[in-house]
Amino acid sequence: MVNNEIALRAVNGPAEIAHIPEAAQGLVEWAMAAQAAYELAQRLVTTSFAPAQYKQRPDEAAAAILAGAEVGLSPMASLRSFDVIQGVAAPRAITLRAIVQSLGHEIVIDEASPERVAGRGRRNGSKEWQGCEWTIERARALGLANKEQWKKQPQTMLIARFTSEIARLIAADAILGIPYTVEEIMDSDDAPYVVKPRPPKAAPQRVTAAEIIGAAQPADQPPAEPDPTVGMQPERMITRPQITKLHILLDEAGFGERDVKLEKLTEILGRPEGNPVLSSKDLTAAEASACIEELARLLDPSS
């Protein structure tokens, strides 16, 4: 078969994979890994093992697991080591150091103070050391020193910057695809928010049968005795044709105003003073019938 021929669809089975070029196979494998990561994340985020920021957030957890897998971290280690900021999974600086050191590369801090952090890094197998330093002046020149975390813990921030820089210098291949660490993103002027575990929105608890039955009882009253005559079959209410007929008869009988109509209905029904008819729609079907009969009799005494 020449390259531009359309491949015949193979029967289901591994053989068909062989027709796919290597690069495409990689994509297929990645897609399968992504699916596996998502399925795993769905299970993990409901457990107490998942860090708080990933609780009930399987999409973000899957992104962290995939990003971690690319640098050789296990799913659980990935969840502990990555934060997701604006949908991008970013490792903390300490994670970068762990990745680099796990591959045999060396990172040494020679000096650490709130003003200066200096150290070295050496690639696995190399004899040459690569030096690196971060000072508070450098941070100030970049407009970082006034940021909250830099004011609170300048030495920690200097170490974080030193770590990510030296890691890139000696082992760029090991951390390819990780453009920035969490600390660097948070130093950015358009950093969206301070990284902190976001409390997941409380998932609504499933309604229980007991809750439904319990909700049926008024809060301030004891449960009523079950009454077979009460429940889903209370008295039938006024129907729309009854409403229409009622108002026609009231108009014909000279009770045109709404207040006068309601007063007349109250009178016909013999309602006590404290319980007047407030709307024709409040009448039961039986009450409406009684009113219609009475009004018809008023209009035509012979009927």
Binding site: V207, A215, A216, R240
Partner: protein, 311 residues
């Protein structure tokens, strides 16, 4: 022959005047309205309802929403059956008129149907009425469903109106049944008839009809109006065929999260369309005039046939 509502409503406490003005007109409504007639509720075209929001979003579009808003939809048998079912279970709604015919094919049946419409009633064939009474009886026999719609515990068919402060858009909803206020979270039930009461099948229907959007729409109205601090929305799903099985179903948090995003999207579309009085159809770039839409086949289709062509 006319059949009344078998079970009827709770006695209507009316905390707000139920006669706020003519349909589609008058002052802006905010609050809880008991006993508002159907035509008045649906005539409030100055507000966005759940069904309107659904029409604004794909596979609907603003042009469809506008048409639906500005035109009276012809009745469909399925809607009539749905309305009649609500009447039988909730005890409120238009009168049911039973038509003694096997189908709507005959002239006589069609005439009777029109007469029922003219009288403001819902026409239902005798055979359908038998099915509906069976379904309603099944609801009453189900311990949870019966309790959820028990007139002693709340009021059926309550209309809710409020303004969304962030967008200035007026929202409205008509809940099937508003429970009385009490301690604890409110359980707001919604009645659905369905081919099957199987919860998994319902999940698919929920996706097709955006029931998650309805769930958050009504929850937000109830909490926004201060009727409850916390609301849980549950669907009482009744199968249309014997033995008329009933399921009480709650959508999960993920569904509601998506529903809330859909709601926000619909509100934004509505606000923009209203402000500019433009109601675009399916054109990819409404400002650019009619264009050809380039579409991808559904992912499942592409995946299924991914081996049919070479890379």
């Amino acid at each position: 022959m006319t059949a009344g509502a078998m079970p009827a409503t709770a006695t209507g406490t009316t905390p707000v005047d139920p006669t706020p003005g003519p349909a589609g007109a008058g002052t802006e409504l905010t609050g809880t309205y008991y006993g508002m007639p159907d035509e008045m509720y649906h005539g409030r075209t100055d507000s966005l309802s759940y069904s309107g929001a659904k029409l604004l979003l794909p596979p609907g579009c603003p042009a469809l929403f506008k048409w639906d808003r500005d035109n009276v939809r012809p009745s469909k048998t399925a809607w009539d059956i749905g309305h009649a079912f609500h009447t039988l279970v909730l005890g409120v709604g238009a009168e049911i008129t039973i038509i003694e015919a096997d189908s709507w094919r005959t002239k006589a049946a069609q005439t009777e149907r029109q007469e029922a419409y003219d009288a403001g009633a819902v026409p239902v064939l005798r055979k359908d009425y038998g099915q509906l009474t069976g379904m309603a009886a099944s609801v009453r026999a189900h311990p949870l469903a019966c309790t959820l719609f028990d007139p002693a515990n709340g009021t059926p068919e309550v209309s809710l109106f409020m303004r969304d402060d962030a967008s200035g858009v007026n929202l409205r909803g008509r809940v099937d049944f508003l429970p009385h206020s009490r301690d604890g979270r409110m359980i707001l039930p919604d009645l659905k008839s369905s081919i099957s009461a199987d919860p998994e099948s319902f999940a698919k229907a929920a996706a097709n009809y955006s029931y998650n959007l309805q769930s958050v729409f009504y929850q937000d109205l109830v909490t926004g109006l201060g009727l409850a601090d916390e609301v849980v929305f549950v669907f009482v799903v009744v199968a249309k065929d014997p033995p008329y099985l009933v399921s009480v179903i709650q959508l999960d948090e993920e569904a509601e999260r998506i529903g809330r995003a859909l709601k926000q999207q619909a509100i934004e579309i509505y606000a923009e369309c209203t402000a500019t009085d433009t109601w675009p159809s399916y054109d990819p770039d409404p400002a650019g005039g009619p264009q050809v839409s380039l579409v991808q086949m559904p992912r499942w289709y592409t995946r299924t046939h991914s081996q049919d062509y070479s890379w």
